[in-house]
């Protein structure tokens, strides 16, 4: 149910559907819908729908007064402002979805295998690097030992 579908639903012949769309737009503070909601408030033939349009428009207008816009909210939502929370949500969704979707499960399994390969290569490289550092440290210790022994001569 996207923005276009919701604004189209504001003209549904069923007033309950129009109210449903208004409530959703208000809930998500969809600032792009303010003008469309204003038209509904002015022109809808149903009094109940006009009342909900007034309520919805007021809520969204207050959000806009606070500096909220849907465009900015979408950008912030997906640019790290809630990365951790989003990851948690995605994890929950994966648990629910992958169990019932063999194709998704397969794709994610392939991704996991590829990542494991990358990780093992990285681990091997870092082990090599660690060993090199240990060897160097041992070489330094040996040099110091040699120096110490030579002093005794």
């Amino acid at each position: 149910m996207d923005f276009q579908q919701l604004t189209n639903q504001l003209y549904d012949p069923d007033p309950r559907k129009r109210i449903e769309a208004l409530r959703i737009l208000a809930m998500v503070e969809e600032t792009r819908a303010i003008n469309a909601i204003l038209l509904v408030y002015k022109n809808d033939p149903d009094e109940g729908v006009r009342a909900v349009a007034k309520w919805a428009g007021s809520l969204i207008w207050q959000a806009k007064e606070r500096g909220h816009t849907t465009e900015a909210a979408l950008e912030a939502y997906f640019k790290g402002a809630r990365v951790a929370e989003l990851e948690e949500i995605m994890v929950d969704r994966l648990i629910l979805s992958a169990e019932e979707n063999p194709e998704l499960k397969n794709k994610l399994e392939i991704a996991r295998t590829q990542w494991e390969q990358v990780e093992s290569i990285k681990a091997a490289k870092s082990q090599t690097q660690a060993m090199q550092e240990i060897e160097k440290s041992l070489a330094d210790d040996l040099d110091l030992l040699d120096a110490g022994l030579s002093d005794l001569k």
Partner: protein, 99 residues
């Protein structure tokens, strides 16, 4: 409609706010746009302001993610595959933790 949505939607009628809160969180986790009208009604009519706020949070989350999904380009970059793999590992760990 997904039968799980129907189940959770019924729990939104419970008098216990904790049950309603759990139902909202579960609907949000499902991420299905079909839950938006249900959450919008809770947002508009629930007597408990905490529940109304929770419904709004859940509704925005689903709405934003639907928007995002609509914009996802076919195919994934290496970075996206890496992220998917990380997330899968977390999902597995979480699932094991729940057993």
């Amino acid at each position: 409609m997904d039968s799980r949505i129907v189940v959770w939607a019924r729990r939104l009628q419970e008098s216990d706010a904790n049950v309603r809160a759990e139902a909202i969180r579960s609907l949000e986790a499902l991420g299905d746009g079909a839950a938006l009208p249900i959450l919008a009604e809770v947002f508009a009519r629930d007597e408990n302001p905490v529940i109304r706020e929770l419904a709004q949070w859940a509704g925005k989350s689903i709405y934003y993610n639907l928007h995002r999904r609509a914009q996802v380009v076919q195919g994934s970059s290496e970075e996206e595959r890496r992220r998917a793999a990380e997330i899968l590992e977390k999902a597995r760990a979480k699932k094991l933790g729940r057993r």
